[in-house]
């Protein structure tokens, strides 16, 4: 599915991501974890085609950087930390049509674009937002719209950069439940940047812990998120306790 081999990203001459290697299988969700500045968002942006990278990033055996422009939307769905569409004077429904037809040369969108837009709004439970403009929506509603825009092209790889940062508790679960269900049902690969370790623990099959742009640990999320490793990477003592059959990570205090 998604395989990275020695992927590095440089910005203004300094290396932000160094030799990252990872693999996300079909139907799997991987969390990218680490402190601020660890290179998580930079790596996701590079995979989305917004920054150049060195190394190899393969999706279904094809190099991501070499995907034909016309096929990128069908391969990649990306939710940015700060989605650019928020300022656009377009309705949510228009944005969904645009997302599917951004390279179209004809005038009218094909009939299936309308159906897909309806379907995705219905699937996320936000049909009521179709006629609204993003600037009129709350932060949480915008996150849901951003996810709808990322999913409407039925991508093979879903890249999410802090998708729950503006959501209340219930909507965090709703959005990640949706992502998890969609990922498994459609056999896609999902790579998401998260800061909430409990959400990562609950929703990510595998996790990668980045530090200074390098992979500090990766594997099954339960194996990666140990108290010792969290203390080393985040500098915070955490208790990890079983709650209702799940692991709950409770930050206790800064390491001294």
């Amino acid at each position: 599915m998604l395989e990275l081999h020695a992927v590095s990203v440089e910005l203004s001459g300094s290396r932000i991501v160094s030799d990252v290697a990872l693999r996300v299988g079909a139907g799997q969700t991987m969390a990218l974890l680490g402190r601020n500045g660890a290179g998580k968002s930079t790596l996701v942006k590079a995979l989305a085609g917004l920054l150049p990278y060195a190394g190899r990033a393969m999706l279904d055996g094809k190099e991501l950087a070499c995907l034909p422009a016309g096929a990128r939307g069908a391969h990649l769905g990306y939710v940015a930390q700060d989605p650019a569409m928020l300022a656009a004077r377009l309705t949510v429904f228009e944005l969904l049509l645009l997302s599917q037809n951004s390279r179209r040369l004809g005038w009218s969108p094909p009939r299936q674009s309308f159906q897909r837009a309806d379907d995705i709004l219905g699937m996320l439970g936000i049909s009521g937002l179709a006629a609204a403009m993003p600037m009129q929506l709350s932060g949480g509603q915008r996150q849901m719209v951003a996810l709808a825009l990322a999913l409407v092209n039925r991508p093979r790889l879903l890249l999410l950069d802090e998708p729950t940062s503006a959501l209340d508790l219930a909507n965090q679960f709703h959005l990640l439940d949706t992502v998890e269900r969609y990922t498994r049902r459609n056999g896609i690969a999902t790579l998401m940047v998260l800061h909430d370790l409990n959400l990562a623990s609950r929703y990510a099959d595998r996790s990668v812990l980045l530090e200074g742009g390098e992979v500090r640990a990766q594997g099954a999320t339960g194996d990666v998120l140990t108290g010792e490793r969290l203390a080393q990477v985040y500098g915070v003592h955490c208790h990890i306790v079983p709650v209702a059959g799940r692991r709950a990570i409770i930050p206790v205090e800064l390491c001294r």
Partner: protein, 360 residues
């Protein structure tokens, strides 16, 4: 129960029919604007030192042989080139402004943001004051020496800025600052040319800079028609991509839009239209700044409609300005560049305040 259930109150089929109603509404607005343009053009043809009736105008246009020779001459040889220049130049300046605002990601950008007006002015000054032609190697008629110089300097200026920005990876806001620097350089050189000019040359140069539709002729109408007319279908084909650029910015690249190439192509199209229009009628400000905003207020960001409406707004405003320039002081024709701002600002404010009142 879904936590976002409250968002899902609208039935799915309603979102599609709402979109279709929106499209019908936008097409109706476009039809109204185009009709107003046609009416304004007819009035512009009718009004002048000898006012014609609308019937005479229509008769003279459709059946030239059936009207008196003097009416035919007034219509076809004097007024029609001016009216067509106003409509085409208005549409072209408006489109150019819209593209500049998109490319530079700046709502205050206009066709002259990157120094086109000052560069054209300097090119014209070289021809008027020093009788120097950058196109001396071409067998151009005398009437095209000033126009050719202005066109070449303004177009080359934008191409150089665009290539420099592309090569160095400058952000849009840095490109705007570079354009401002170039503007000041050409303004200084234009000032130097004015300082060295004699009284007649100075008068010619100042009048050229004010912008006037009276400099036009059928040949210039043909050139403008070809340039703006060629840009329109290209923009029509690119309208989804331009909307993606406006809607998603650089993130449009995720959807396969070649953002850098698109920005460069739009910059060249904008420069080509603005340079040819400025070289033909001089500096006409305001239209390129506000016509795109008018269109966006009326139909939003979908460039399939917004660009068409932008062109119609630009054509309407410049044609109305042409009428106004002939009627405010009977017997005299004011420079069009002065009139566009006087006429357009109140209309724009009315639209802006009306729009705010509806939103809040």
């Amino acid at each position: 129960m879904s936590p976002v259930e409250s968002y899902a109150a609208v039935p799915v089929s309603d979102s599609r029919s709402h979109y279709q109603r929106q499209v019908a509404h936008k097409l109706a607005l476009l039809a109204v604007l185009v009709s107003l343009c046609a009416l304004a053009m007819a009035l512009d043809l009718a009004i002048g030192s000898e006012t014609l009736s609308l019937h005479q105008v229509v008769q003279g246009l459709l059946h030239p042989q059936q009207v008196a020779p003097e009416i035919r001459v007034v219509l076809w040889d004097i007024r029609l080139p001016v009216t067509l220049t106003a409509a085409i130049a208005g549409a072209g300046l408006a489109l150019s402004g819209s593209l500049m605002q998109t490319v530079l990601d700046n709502p205050l950008a206009e066709p002259f943001t990157l120094g086109i007006s000052a560069a054209a002015g300097f090119g014209a000054a070289l021809a008027i004051v020093f009788q120097a032609s950058a196109l001396a190697f071409l067998p151009l008629p005398a009437e095209f020496i000033v126009t050719g110089n202005a066109f070449l300097f303004s177009l080359l200026t934008v191409i150089c800025i665009g290539l420099f920005a592309a090569r160095t990876g400058l952000a849009p806001e840095m490109v705007v600052l570079l354009g401002i620097a170039v503007h000041f350089i050409f303004t200084a050189m234009l000032g130097m040319a004015q300082y060295l000019a004699d009284a007649d040359q100075l008068q010619a140069l100042v009048f050229w800079m004010m912008g006037s539709l009276m400099k036009t002729g059928w040949r210039k109408v043909e050139i403008l028609f070809v340039i703006v007319g060629a840009a329109v279908p290209v923009l029509g084909l690119l309208s989804w991509r331009i909307t993606a650029l406006r809607g998603f910015g650089s993130q449009a690249a995720v959807l396969g839009v070649a953002v850098k190439h698109l920005r460069m192509a739009l910059l060249l199209l904008a420069a080509l239209m603005a340079s040819s229009i400025t070289a033909t009628i001089g500096v006409v400000g305001f239209i390129g700044l506000v016509a795109p905003h008018m269109a966006r207020m009326l139909v939003g960001e979908d460039q399939r409609f917004s660009l068409a409406l932008t062109a119609a707004c630009g054509a309407l405003v410049l044609t109305l300005a042409s009428i106004f320039s002939k009627t405010v002081f009977p017997g005299a024709v004011l420079p069009i560049g002065m009139v566009t701002s006087l006429l357009g600002v109140p209309f724009f404010l009315w639209l802006l305040l009306g729009h705010r009142a509806r939103r809040f």
